[in-house]
């Protein structure tokens, strides 16, 4: 992502490893390998990939909820990974997180008012109770709830309302960066679009930057200005939204798009077409060379030998030895119907 002003968030060569036991043997699982990207103020980056691709590990490492094995995470020029506990806590008001399961992310014994107001108690201790209460009420109204909800407990709310509460809690300190880990996935169709619209509206109004983790490509297309495609912890493609969705450069991105379900029934022949065979391999035993090669229709001998570097091809950054040949192929005609 080329942004002229200093980026709000600059991630450089981020690695996340987990220590695991396999058949009694200790081993390192490389969940995230060498991931770099930048995000300017007001931009939103979608991170997509299958389960096990390392999406959530990136989110957690950005906020230091899991330790990074290597790399740097610059937030407004400061490396978050080097901060002391005290400095990090101060920084957290600018970095907030929304989880997939809203009910699980709320304390079942705290009223909505206390939940949403707690970050203020934490980060603006000088605020009077009356001022805190006024801010809390205003925030609840901004997410479509009202003052009558203040004293209720989380179990009295539906999933969509609980996600509104989680959004209110995350935004009440006016953070600069919001990390959303599958924020829409657990919601019903009719509620999902309400929450997606709310998030986008608040993002625009507050000038928020967002890291939006999702397996739902259509949701990412709606919510994000840029997209990072991840596979087995490595960046396959990084591009602005429009080039990515109209002319995906990486075979994996193309396969993900092709596997997405249609909006309407397709002619019988098209149904036989499946985007990708097999499943994502174990991160404990990633393939040599290009990690995607075992499922790639374009793999050649070189792909097993040599790991492709992320490089500019057309309007994307693509990690594929054959990206130039692919770019010459006609764009996908699979989403129609």
């Amino acid at each position: 992502m080329n942004t002229v002003p200093a980026p709000l968030l600059a991630v450089e060569n981020l690695c996340v490893d987990y220590h695991v036991r396999v058949d009694g043997q200790r081993a390192w699982l490389h969940a995230v390998s060498d991931v770099s990207f930048q995000l300017a103020g007001g931009q939103s980056l979608g991170i997509v990939g299958e389960s096990g691709s390392g999406k959530s590990s990136i989110a957690r490492a950005l906020l230091r909820l899991v330790p990074a094995a290597a790399g740097r995470v610059y937030f407004e020029g400061q490396d978050l990974l080097q901060l002391s506990g005290r400095e990090l806590r101060r920084m957290r008001r600018d970095l907030q997180l929304i989880f997939q399961d809203p009910l699980a992310s709320l304390d079942p014994r705290m009223s909505v008012g206390d939940t949403v107001g707690e970050p203020l108690r934490m980060f603006e201790p000088a605020l009077s109770a009356a001022a805190r209460s006024a801010r809390t009420t205003a925030m609840l109204e901004a997410v479509g709830l009202s003052v009558q909800h203040l004293h209720r407990l989380p179990h009295e709310f539906s999933g969509g309302q609980a996600q509104r509460i989680a959004i209110a809690r995350a935004l009440i300190t006016r953070p600069r960066l919001l990390v959303c880990d599958e924020p829409l996935s657990s919601l019903d169709v009719s509620i999902k679009s309400q929450i997606a619209n709310l998030l986008m509206q608040l993002q625009r109004e507050l000038g928020l930057s967002m890291v939006f983790i999702s397996h739902d490509l259509a949701a990412v297309r709606f919510a994000c200005s840029h997209v990072l495609v991840l596979y087995l912890g490595r960046v396959m493609e990084l591009a602005a939204r429009d080039p990515l969705f109209s002319a995906a450069g990486h075979p994996y991105t193309r396969a993900l798009l092709r596997a997405a379900l249609p909006r309407a029934p397709r002619p019988a022949r098209a149904r036989a077409h499946v985007g990708l065979s097999g499943e994502i391999p174990s991160a404990l035993r990633p393939p040599s060379g290009c990690v995607f090669r075992t499922r790639c229709a374009y793999a050649v001998e070189r792909c097993a030998r040599e790991q492709p570097a992320l490089r500019r091809v057309a309007d994307s950054l693509v990690a594929c030895h054959r990206a130039e040949e692919l770019a010459a192929e006609p764009p996908l005609a699979t989403l129609a119907g």
């Binding site: 389960s51 019903d188 009719s190 997405a260 309407a264 985007g275 499943e279 989403l335």
Partner: protein, 349 residues
């Protein structure tokens, strides 16, 4: 197809498949009693038919009663549920059957495919043992015959290296592989019908596409009918022949799949399609959406349950429940509004 003694269809003298539905539901209601005494209705007067080999999609959001309806077919709603109406399977009434009689149908004639393959399989038993148990519960076959059948079924669901897989435990398989095993298990006793509850919801998109294709191929090749419950209109579009849309316990629209996607007549069916973000077309700033949340089954509004959220509601909608009426040969809707839809589609920008 098989030489061993598998359960046979009950009555070979039945008329041709097309004339008689495999399954016919009439006025099925499911309710749960509450502490206060009043029963909460979760399925209300559902009529449905399923022909042999047909894939019927049952679409709706959480709490609309689609899973409860599915469970009512095999009497699986639990001991407290109040189930009424008729579930007629090949002429046999299933509602009110004793457990022993139902067990002759469950798994053998009508098998289930659950959402989460991780919990549908027993973690302590090898794959082979679970598949074999499924068959031997319903048919008098030897262990060896059953094992051979298990091997065939794993191959049928395109699991490679099937001999070795039989000796593995569920945790040794990936999520997609486990769902294939769950489908293989459902096929063990050669059922005529599958009840599939969100069969791909727990899977990744790439694996979902594979499993949907597998289900379609199996149905076409073996003539198995499927009742498919899902919240995802994409899954419906990909797999179903016909669709019934449920809201607040009732079927609000029913049509062939192409018809429902081209000319939905119920505002809720329109909403289910319009609210989903798109991968094609111009980028939008706002998604179409419908306000509010589905009603609490214990406090249903008078009249049409969807009226409080409906962009087209009329005065009558608050007064009278719209009956499910036939509009054309294969199209049914329960809505008072007769004008054109399209407001939701146009509201996105």
């Amino acid at each position: 197809m098989m030489s061993m003694a598998l359960p046979q269809p009950p009555d070979p003298a039945l008329p041709a498949a097309s004339a008689v539905p495999l399954l016919r539901l009439r006025e099925v209601c499911v309710a749960y009693p509450t502490a206060s005494g009043a029963a909460v209705p979760v399925v209300r007067n559902v009529d449905l038919q399923l022909a042999p080999g047909e894939i019927l999609g049952l679409a709706g959001e959480s709490g609309c009663g689609k899973t409860q309806l599915l469970l009512s077919i095999l009497g699986l709603n639990g001991p407290h549920a109040l189930v009424s109406g008729s579930v007629n399977y090949r002429g046999q009434e299933l509602v009110g059957l004793r457990t022993a009689e139902l067990n002759a149908v469950r798994g053998a004639r009508i098998a289930m495919v659950f959402q989460d393959p991780a919990t549908a399989l027993n973690p302590y038993l090898r794959i082979g043992a679970q598949l074999i148990e499924m068959l031997r519960a319903h048919a008098r076959v030897s262990e060896r015959q059953a094992r051979e059948r298990a091997f065939e079924m794993l191959e049928a669901v395109q699991i490679g290296d099937a001999r070795r897989r039989l000796r593995q435990y569920p945790h040794e398989l990936s999520g997609g592989m486990r769902q294939r095993v769950v489908i293989a298990m459902a096929l063990m006793a050669s059922p005529e019908m599958l009840l599939a509850d969100e069969p791909t919801t727990a899977l990744d998109v790439t694996v979902q596409a594979q499993i949907l294709r597998l289900l379609r191929e199996l149905c076409e090749r073996r003539g198995i009918a499927v009742l498919l419950v899902t919240h995802d209109m994409g899954v419906i579009a990909e797999l179903a022949d016909r669709v019934a849309v449920m809201y607040a316990g009732r079927i609000v629209e029913q049509a062939p799949v192409e018809t429902l996607f081209e000319r939905a007549l119920h505002p809720y069916s329109e909403a289910l399609q319009a609210c989903v973000p798109r991968l094609d077309g111009p980028a939008v700033q706002r998604l179409a959406s419908i306000p509010g949340v589905p009603p609490d089954p214990a406090a249903l509004p008078r009249g049409c349950a969807f009226a409080p959220r409906c962009a087209y509601h009329l005065p009558i909608c608050q007064e009278r429940v719209p009956p499910l009426l036939q509009t054309t040969a294969q199209h049914w809707k329960a809505c008072h509004y007769e004008g054109p839809l399209g407001r939701l589609r146009d509201s996105a920008a």
